[in-house]
Symmetry: C2
Subunit: 352 residues, 2 copies
Amino acid sequence: MVQYVGVGNVIELVRSTGIETFLLGLVDYIEEDFRRWEQFEKAPRVASHSTSGVIELMPTSDGELYGFKYVNGHPKNPNDGLQTVTAFGVLSDVSTGYPCLVSEMTLMTGLRTAATSALAAKYLARKDARTMAIIGLGAQSEFQALAFHALLGIKKLRVYDIDPAATAKFRDNLADTDIEIVVGETAEDAVSGADIITTVTADKRNATILSDNMVGAGVHINAVGGDCPGKTELQGEILRRADVFVEFPEQTRIEGEIQQMEADFPVTELWQVMTGGAAGRRSDAQITIFDSVGFATEDFSALRYLRDAVQGTSFFTELDLTTQPKDPRNLYGLFRQPAPVAPLAVLEGSFA
Amino acid sequence: MVQYVGVGNVIELVRSTGIETFLLGLVDYIEEDFRRWEQFEKAPRVASHSTSGVIELMPTSDGELYGFKYVNGHPKNPNDGLQTVTAFGVLSDVSTGYPCLVSEMTLMTGLRTAATSALAAKYLARKDARTMAIIGLGAQSEFQALAFHALLGIKKLRVYDIDPAATAKFRDNLADTDIEIVVGETAEDAVSGADIITTVTADKRNATILSDNMVGAGVHINAVGGDCPGKTELQGEILRRADVFVEFPEQTRIEGEIQQMEADFPVTELWQVMTGGAAGRRSDAQITIFDSVGFATEDFSALRYLRDAVQGTSFFTELDLTTQPKDPRNLYGLFRQPAPVAPLAVLEGSFA
């Protein structure tokens, strides 16, 4: 049997754990996997493009576990009340090839993206950073706020969104926390005086959410929204003044902010900062940028965390997604036995 | 919600339909998709190799539906009571990117492989073919026997396996059919006088299951077992005497019997035979070979068939694999609502 963690169970698990505690646990798994970066098989995404969007498979493996995420991106979905991005993931045992976990990953992607941002900021933001600006208050914004609150103690937010309804949603969602929220009149107003700037807007275009004059010395920019070809948020000049840190350069040069720059624009890999192979922040005046696009290993970490987190709990069910006849050569024999009555019942001799 | 068809439900569906009726329905879907071959996006498999085996993702799309199969191949699994190959698949709506069906595909792959073989033989075997030899009585053998029985009326089988236990299993599994089974003393004995020869052995090596002198004029060879690099069943000389038909040449030249031959060895694509663009069998004396390796479109057809077959039945359940908050930007809001009590309950506002 394969363990299944659906949307309902992820919600229950996160609520029972506490979302900030859950995010901190997730940060640990992501950091652990970044630190053993070289163990991972890093394959390109496999994309199927259509006029309405893209469907991608993102596989990776550490030699013991294999994981992949299915994720779509359909910009017009919200017009029909659907989400732009949905995702699910699978974790398998490399030694047998048998899947062991199937999970929703729409919520988990929201959580792992924020956890990765906070983790990067732990290495790249000034230690005395206290205020974060968030530009763009869409689906990812609360996760970012809570991850930075949990990991770095950020309690002061300066926020901006072009849509007042998004701002109201954001404030309402965080009303029961001790996070102080100041709403800027403009993006420029919001970033004023912030130690960390998170850009996480949704428009799929080469936008200028942050222009060069808005970014002062010592700031850490957590650039989350620029994450696919044709979608950027930062003016190129900022990138030249800053040190840019990335997950997987081959992917970020296509999908990240640095798609604007020349092919050999210098970047530092985040895993090397974590293992001590490269410097993170070197001075209080330095501008650092985490050019986040989201990489398969982060989904792998999220699946691995989820698998461990649900053991011994009631927050999963089981799927009869694999067969195991007593004689592997007698697959046909499964059709001759009485079929199980309950749809999710354990088949005699099936993989436990 | 996403429909889920597990092993138990596939067994129930096939049993309630009747396996031969089910196979005939599957043949129709596979043929329909072969006939619109050019509509499909044909991508290479995405393979992750390890010392113990391989895990592959096989995606395809017809522009309306997207499907992929996860499949592993671990030759030593049977030593631990596990199957060499397990599989599952997903079908999605291209216009939204939302998955609509998750299904087991270990059983379905067994069924679709046999259905494809019988379909190919409909075009390639002599119309008066009455006797089929099967060399190799492993997990795929009964499916082959039943598909040829259902589609072509083959009621006489001459069979051989090096393991008497496999032969006994095969006879026992087909005891309640009107198929007459003659067990050969050798492979050569079994193929003697057969109109169709199915080779479906399991050893991963370049074997000589059929040597040139065993194949007479007019025979159709259904070469199923040679399906990955380093695994073949036919002596190369047979391929030179025959006309060879394949699914997707780019893949078959790597995985099929023709991996033994030069890179420009002439082959005919099966879809072109079905659409009339190329000749199938041209004379009673011709030797034809279907060099079967299994292609992603066949899995797509199987998923599409399964999706249609379960509608209006009780042979599926639902998974909460996708979210749909009332406001797509308020993903975080899902954590603030009371979580659903039942693990598989429909979330308020979730994708129906």
